[in-house]
Symmetry: C2
Subunit: 135 residues, 2 copies
DNA sequence: TATGCACCTTGTAGCAACTACAAGGTCAAG
DNA sequence: CTTGACCTTGTAGTTGCTACAAGGTGCATA
């Protein structure tokens, strides 16, 4: 299959696929006589793996590790497990951070009672360092 | 005050402060005889405003808007309000996304019962497109 | 046959918001 | 007088793509 087909099949832009190849995330494809990339089902599987891992929030570096690990069939899968565990912890931390951000923004919104900018508590409380919000 | 002091006072790296100046986010500072930047309390207030807005997740473009607005004392503060509202909505959306990511990662973790990578369901389910997880 | 159009190729540059040098100038202390 | 902390400018790197530009290829249609 050509790059456009693979792109459609995986929901990836062709340019991104070429980028993955340049970065060594995906193996290079065969070439047709006219120098077009020619992909196999193995490439489809590999790209699917990569995209899924990326959608799960793994960094390119982590994806590289996952790919390396998935090639070592006989190894214990503890390291894979640990990578997922770490990613989960990071996501949980980001959620905590965003929740407190949300609370701060809500407070900020509620603080505006005025009509003119020079009386607006939002503008005022932006001028104060984080930690001491409104109140 | 010199750039290092301002940096310490606001928890910003000196290089970031210079970057803000280059980008027009902060007004240029006076210079001493030896060409060192020399900041006033107004600069301290402005940088505090910027850093606080950034910590609240506003983009540089949004910070620019907020700064412009905060200069127009007599305008109604509806636009400020609306900017905060939009940022709140974005944060809420990011939370929703991360929560479903977290659930997927938890499922993934629970799916590993094996010991060897070729039997590991984590690796297996990464090879499948998103949407159909495990099971 | 010509021509149009979608597709492919490489290479380069841009995005956000910093961060990290490198190479050199300034200033106070020991 | 030298050390060391600080400052200056300028340039390049980070992450993960995305967007051209300039040209080649493949196929259907007038
Ligand atoms: Zn762990
Ligand atoms: Zn207001
Ligand atoms: Zn709104
Ligand atoms: Zn496993």
């Amino acid at each position: 299959m050509r790059i456009g087909e693979l792109a459609k099949a995986t929901g990836t832009k062709a340019e991104t696929i070429r980028y993955y190849e340049r970065e060594g995330i995906l193996p290079a494809a065969d070439r047709t006589d006219s120098n077009y990339r020619d992909y196999s089902d193995n490439h489809l599987a590999a790209l699917t793996f990569v995209r899924r891992a990326r959608q799960l929030g793994f960094s390119m570096a982590q994806v590289r590790e996952l790919l390396d690990l998935s090639d070592r069939a006989d190894k214990p899968c503890q390291e894979v497990d640990e990578l997922v565990h770490e990613q989960l912890e990071e996501v949980e931390q980001r959620i905590v951070d965003l929740l407190s951000l949300r609370d701060e923004l809500r407070l900020l919104l509620r603080s505006c009672q005025a009509n003119r900018i020079d009386e607006c508590r939002i503008v005022g409380s932006l001028a104060r360092p984080l930690g001491r919000v409104t109140r």
